[in-house]
């Protein structure tokens, strides 16, 4: 581990964040592009859920995480608050791991 890596990674990671938020800023964009940008959270959060729930590296696996996220989906569907959804998802997974 070197300081070069720490600083190079810090600069690169900040550059990505800067590019999206500061360079584009609050410029008015074409309507079609605005409609596309509005879909970013839907598309990318769905992808993050899939990755965090069903993958280990390059492998797709169904384990205690899938049960926890399944319970979280039911809780969200039943209009539970965000905090409850988080706690239900984590507890179901922890319980399954404890008994298996």
């Amino acid at each position: 581990m070197t300081w070069t890596l720490v600083f190079a990674l810090a600069a690169g990671a900040y550059a990505f964040k800067f590019l999206g938020l500061v360079v584009v800023g609050d410029r008015v964009l074409p309507a079609a592009l605005e409609r596309c940008l509005a879909l970013i959270p839907a598309a990318l959060i769905a992808a993050l859920i899939v990755k965090d729930t069903l993958s280990v590296g390059h492998h797709l696996v169904v384990d205690a995480r899938a049960a926890g996220v399944g319970a979280a989906i039911v809780a969200a569907w039943r209009k539970a608050p965000v905090l409850a959804v988080i706690i239900i998802g984590a507890s179901v997974t922890a319980l399954l791991r404890a008994v298996s």
Partner: protein, 214 residues
């Protein structure tokens, strides 16, 4: 909403303990581990960089893999640029807090005031707990395994709650299905980090002008 933001910060903070442990066992000093969390502040990139170094990889390979994982923050910043208006110094700080959790919590709110509050509270609490956790892990070692408490699922479960408002329109539902589907299909074949970026293709659904009746 505030308690949910802070809870998410705490869950992520417990993960930072494992990052601190991983960084030190990969040969980083405590100062280097903490500097990484303060300056890089992108969990997936940090874990990836230290695991490549721990596995004997070069700095170049550690850097390229980690940067690939942080590229999605550029896309998130683009989405947030529509909601986080303000002066340049404010934006420069907001850029550093642009991560999965702050973006998702922001997008889950209905009105602009709540969106900005959710972004700053979530980003701020994750930043504080992420850095405290890193320090604890680097100094004290791995006393806690986050998986025992299901904390690895706290994050996707929070994302489930945050994605719910996106399901109100048919276009949002299609973007969720398509983004999740692209990620699922590409995990086995694309390099780590790319499936999330590939899922961005689903936003092209927005090109069509008319909202299909839901």
């Amino acid at each position: 909403m505030i308690s949910a933001c802070v809870t998410l910060g705490l869950a992520v903070g417990v993960y930072a303990i494992s990052f601190g442990v991983a960084a030190v066992s990969a040969g980083a000093s405590t100062a280097q581990a903490c500097a990484m969390s303060l300056l890089v502040f992108t969990g997936a990139s940090q874990f990836s960089a230290v695991s490549v170094i721990a596995g004997g990889g070069t700095i170049g390979s550690a850097l390229s893999g980690a940067l690939l994982l942080s590229a999605r923050n550029g896309v998130f910043g683009l989405a947030n640029s529509r909601r986080l208006t303000g002066r340049l110094p404010t934006r420069l700080i907001a850029a550093q807090l642009t991560i999965d959790e702050s973006t998702a919590m922001c997008a889950a709110q209905d009105d602009p005031v709540a969106q900005r509050a959710a972004f700053w509270i979530t980003g701020g609490s994750v930043y504080v707990f992420w850095n405290i956790g890193t320090l604890i892990g680097a100094v004290a070692g791995g006393a806690i395994n986050p998986k025992t408490f299901g904390l690895d699922v706290a994050i996707p479960a929070a994302f489930v709650a945050m994605i719910w408002p996106q399901l109100r329109t048919s276009r949002g539902r299609m973007a969720v299905l398509l983004g999740g589907g692209i990620c699922l299909l590409s995990i086995p074949v694309l390099p780590i980090g790319l499936p999330i970026l590939a899922a961005s293709l689903a936003i092209l659904l927005g090109i069509r002008r008319h909202e299909v009746a839901s």
